[in-house]
Subunit: 334 residues, 4 copies
């Protein structure tokens, strides 16, 4: 059940109730949303209704599902805002950049290109989850510094991936959005830590995660206090291996029925071959996505990682142009 407190409740009253839960040994989660404290208590309403500590509660809501906070009943619509930039509204947001930050010069020139053609957020990996231990593992914190510097210089926001619970605060201090990669979607310790920080999280779908698995992972973040989660479909693993993964485009409209969280699409990882990236980007907008995340490089063939799926400036420019002309039909603006 969920206890909803009045807007200006004395925090000590809230604390009394959480204390009581602790004493009774009942799992519970406190979160603050829309100016109100809400306390999720894993027990029946009847049980709690008799506690004197619950007198300050203005509403008691039952819940029957495994997921609570990511459901639309809980909240109708989440919009992640950075000044004018919004993810989850009728803006269509483009995140673009290289697979990996390779040098300050590389990320600087790519940032310039991203800005020029209308991208809003610069991506760039500094801690890379590579299948082989002998592949380039990323340039680490220096990469984040370079990324942030390049983004700032061009009026862009930036996003990068975190892989280790020990790095959460450090990564979060450099970027505007913290990314969880597909391979860590069920790294629950990491999700819990990300629930405690004050930066939006972009949560990629795991290679074999069902919609429920994915939303349960988001629920980990929300239930630990961070409500700014952006979902990102990036292809699932199927029997078809001509493409790197199989983009599950249906996830876009379906997730919007299942949750209030924004949903984006990463066509680059989904298909893994650059010539098909624009078509999938158009599909993403047509399906109703709130934005896309693409790998671009001033010299794709020189990318240390994911070269095969990285698009060139001309392709990016042309793709952005077409997305802009599509946008009004889908009641989006860019």
């Amino acid at each position: 059940m969920i206890c909803v407190f009045e807007k200006n409740v004395d925090e000590r009253e809230v604390e009394k109730l959480t204390l009581r839960c602790q004493q009774e040994g009942i799992p519970h989660h406190l979160f603050y949303l829309g100016g109100q404290y809400r306390l999720l208590i894993q027990t029946e309403i009847d049980f709690v209704a008799n506690w004197p500590e619950s007198d300050v509660v203005i509403e008691m809501l039952p819940y029957t599902q495994k997921r609570v906070l990511t459901n639309c009943q809980f909240q109708p619509h989440t919009v992640v805002k950075f000044g004018d930039l919004e993810i989850g509204s009728n803006q269509f947001c483009v995140i673009a950049g290289p697979c990996s930050v390779e040098s300050s010069q590389q990320i600087f020139s790519i940032a310039s290109m991203v800005k020029q053609f209308g991208g809003k957020i610069l991506r760039g990996g500094a801690f890379k989850p590579r299948t082989s231990p002998y592949d380039f593992q990323g340039s680490g914190q220096q990469g984040l510094i370079d990324l942030k510097h390049a983004a700032d210089a061009h009026g862009l926001l930036c996003i990068s991936e975190v892989m280790d619970t020990r790095d959460v605060d450090m990564v979060a201090s450099h970027v505007d959005i913290v990314q969880v990669g597909a391979r860590n979607m069920q790294n629950f310790c990491l999700l819990k830590e990300l629930g405690k920080i004050n930066k939006p999280i972009l949560l990629k779908r795991g290679l074999s995660a069902t919609y429920e698995d994915w939303l349960s992972s988001a629920e980990y973040i929300l239930s630990h206090g961070n409500f700014e989660v952006i979902l990102c479909e990036r292809g699932i693993r199927t029997f078809e291996n001509y493409s790197r993964n199989t983009l599950d485009i249906s996830a876009v409209p379906i997730l919007q029925q299942l949750t209030h969280l924004p949903i984006m699409v990463d066509p680059s990882h989904a298909v893994g071959m650059r010539e098909f990236v624009p078509s999938l980007a158009y599909s993403a907008m047509a399906a109703g996505a709130h934005g896309i995340m693409v790998e671009v490089h001033t010299h794709p063939e020189l990318s240390i990682s994911d070269a095969r799926q990285t698009i060139a400036p001309e392709t990016f420019a042309e793709m952005m142009q077409k997305l802009k002309s599509m946008a009004p039909i889908f009641e989006k603006h860019m």
Copy 2:
């Protein structure tokens, strides 16, 4: 290897060469395309080059792949034409109608609605591949008669599925396009028979067919003489079972690189829930498809089969409207 004959070759010369192949016990396939006979012989060029019968051949082409006729090297682009209507060009063709023909009245009123909102081809199953033997198996030949009648009355073409080699000629006599369903995509006996008829074939992708499997099935039809094959992506089977199947939208641009055959998308079977059908239809056009095939019904909730994925007239009307406004951006017209 492939022997290409000159345009006005004496047919007896061609026959001599096929006869030689028979005598040598070498598998071979003769087909006529673009005003020329071509003889595919499953052996090396060197072997054939010495035959006196090969003197009339103007070009000898090697091939190394399992597929020949469905490759773009063989032919750049196939357009299936019915008067003004084209599938495979810059027209975007909409096939619509009920899952099953239920009565002459039902199909007649649906045909009227399909026509009104801009559909070009009427679909309707008469022989239904149902998972359970106790489900409605279709209304058989009478269904085809009703379908054809309803299509004719509204100036539409029509399409229906064939399941049995014994029914090929009968079904083909009633419809403009013969459909092969996903479950029969590797019913090779059926494909061979369809290679011998003079009607276009719409070949749906099997639930677990790779692109290569699918094109090899198309190759069966082409190699038996029928070059008018339209591919139709309709969702594949994956671990995600929230939706009926998983639409593999990447198949649309990828197949256009792998083959010259037109490719359409069936969003209804792909997702299996009517509220998501329009989004997937828009995605299909955005990804570059040559058209879509959707299940519509004047009273979806009364459908004997597939009710859950069948859209209502208002949804169809709205969807067609949006597709028309999208079309110019993708250099298509409807």
Copy 3:
């Protein structure tokens, strides 16, 4: 619902009831099992209970599932018998032979080897479902004649695949068991025809068929009158493509809970590499299978088809030896 008639019911009484169903337009299936007629009528008991024609019915059973005849409630245990040989009891039956019948000499020498090491049924394809139209399509009816001849000469039974409804009677006239391949598991027209013949059917699991799909296909055969169906797990299609398919060994114990039909395993197609076939054969027995079906050849490397997964005589001999020593532990005999 299912109407059960008394054992010596006058057939005209049964006919009256089926006639009534016809008049009412209600789908129904009559079958004879265990000395009793049973009539499956797709409607509620209440509806039928009032008909005077139903007075001869001794029991009326409701059913709520899509499957009826393949359920254990309907029948506890099916054993397919050929004299002393049984499939579905505590015998462990080995079906062995080449992928394709290539010549009378080839199949004769393989039959001799199969017999020598304890195989009971000779397999050999004459109509081959090949992915590519340019691959060897089988030797046709002559292959069946050679297969039967080789089996007879060595006191073996024989099995071969049918692909076309038009060939059902012909194939059935040559073999002891008729096989339905994975690609035709949902060729419902074929299944219906096989429901009308008087030979046991070995029904392979489709590449992406769930247990329910598979049993529904078996239900097609049973509901058309043929109760002798043997299931054969042969690997499913998954993301892992190192092996040809993924053997779903759990299907063996699970299917024995879901149905009364015997279940065998084909390790050759499941893994596709001969060095792993014996390990999977042992696993099949350990999991409780009623037998296995393996591809063997006196000269595996010379096989026209499936050479890579075909085992040599020494491997077969050793495998049979080990299976025999395992059998008592699993209360089986060979």
Copy 4:
């Protein structure tokens, strides 16, 4: 390439070479195995051969694959030893215990039962990777203390899962084998930390990991210095969802061809229903596994987690009995 040093090389010489690599900016990995230092340098032999530092190298081996240390060419066969107990030899090792350590009493009584029927290693989760944040997350370090205590009291070894890089040393200090769960198989930061400890690692296969992905994850551990890795197949995610996962039994013989590492099977997670666990355990031995890991409980129905797949003492006793009678046939002992 790999530089192999002589057995009693002066460590300062080795250091010189690693220093040179650092100066050249070439990725490299030093490991010690079989009494020899080996230095994996990610460059060509020709490049290194000219360095004066390489004079102390007795052999230079090229490698072309992404994986080196997990390949059979590198090492023929790994046996993880704990006194008399061996994993990877002809012993068949049984790991058993509850899904979660729930109380000291619970784990104590289960340990007693495991010991009684012949299990060698006690399992019990203290840090649980649960899909939902509201499910029991494990009893933490106290659980490990209880587990170790119960194991010690009954002469068993113990194993438990680690999920967080920050917990690696703590968990390793309590258990004999550290487990990496399926959801963390590509948590590369965790794998790197586990490569630095001195305890064997049991690495479960990820839900959608190919054999190559899985071995690459093992390679992470080996390349960071820990060569004692045990693989554990625990079912993969496929379209079939009647069972929890699909046991890929073929992985057992195939992995033994691809790597020298021991391989075990977890039938409990693979199928998720207790009635099928014994059949899969027998299959595992029949396929050649080095052991199994099963969930057992004195009162399965009272398990806080995974109750449905946990077997009761009588089933465990019977299963162990049958495994013992099978073992000699497969040249194993228990």
